[in-house]
Amino acid sequence: MSQFDPEISRMVVVEEDQAQISACLQRLMADSGASYSMVIDRAGQILASESDEVRPEMVHLGALIANTYASTQEMARILKEDGFKTLFQEGMKEKIFTETVRGRWLLVVIFDKQSQVGMVKVLARRSSAVLANILDLVERRSTEVNGPRFRQVGKATIDTIDLLFKDDGCSDDE
């Protein structure tokens, strides 16, 4: 499991990366019969997702899974384990399987009773290895991406922050 590099303060995902990640997720879903899959970072932010249907509240699901995973790492520390590599939640209709990718990202798969848990686990592990290679490259390249474009966005964002976060906020009814 590779260690988090604290000096990398951002991760830049470009179109080619997105296409490769999406292709990997699509293949996983096709092979396993899963209905949803996504890759999130440790902060719960979604890098890419694929779905058979529109699913609301996936941003919240990402946050919950990332924090749950982070909690299990603390449990592992207490038990003097290196870490727990997977999470599994089983509901009446759907199940969620989460596999770590290099300990830096999480691959989340949602599936129903049409898919076998064992099969999903095997395929998710395989996909995790593929994603690890892609994301390693993305991470390495993120340190080299030239800043001016994002600095320009950053400057404009600061103006937006001033506008949006006025001292009393700005509610709809004002």
Partner: protein, 191 residues
């Protein structure tokens, strides 16, 4: 770590509200949620105990809209402040791009503030961050209460690292957006 998704044209950042129990972290997020336009926010998710104390975290996604074609999104989190939940705070702090330290300005809470701040520094350092360079702002909350300490005293004891700090009464909204504005800018400046 900020996520810049050029393909989806999105920029994401994570901001964590840290501090001792009952200092007003959740109140900050509740006020923000109540005041920002509905098209810029998601649902406020709270995982609480039966007595409505934060058990795991509160989560509020906010959307600043499009800037130069990029959608800017911040995820705001609180940690549970009670001493018992120290390892949960470590988990929630994971991957944060910036922290708001919410101190309770009440005279009798000074030791709790100092302990929580020490713990924050330790946790960030353990995650490989340099505490002195880290995007951090402080909020002196409950300044409206008669037992609150004066700002210079709080500066001397709590803000020894001399980061931007704001007086607040989060329950009335005073200082809440000032604080959010400051930490958001620090995070964006790190892009």
């Amino acid at each position: 770590m900020a996520l810049i998704n050029v393909a989806a044209r999105e920029i994401h950042g994570k901001i964590v509200y840290y501090g001792p129990g009952l200092s007003g972290k959740t109140t900050n997020l509740q006020y923000i949620h109540s005041r920002i336009p509905s098209n810029t926010k998601g649902e406020l998710l709270s995982i609480e105990t039966e007595t409505e104390r934060t058990l795991f975290f509160d989560f509020l996604p906010i959307d600043l809209g499009k800037v130069h074609g990029f959608t800017i999104r911040f995820h705001l989190y609180t940690v549970p402040g009670q001493v018992l939940y120290e390892r949960t705070r470590v988990a929630v702090l994971n991957g944060a791009d910036g922290v708001v330290f919410v101190a309770d300005a009440s005279r009798d809470r000074l030791p709790d503030n100092l302990q929580s701040l020490r713990e924050l520094a330790q946790n960030l350092t353990a995650q490989g961050k340099r505490f002195l360079d880290y995007p951090l702002v402080m909020q002196y909350n409950k300044m409206d209460l008669p037992q609150s300490l004066p700002t210079p005293v709080l500066d001397r004891y709590i803000n020894t690292v001399k980061v931007p700090r704001f007086e607040a009464s989060a329950i009335n909204g005073k200082g809440v957006f000032e604080t959010l504005r400051a930490i958001s800018k620090l995070v964006v400046n790190k892009l």
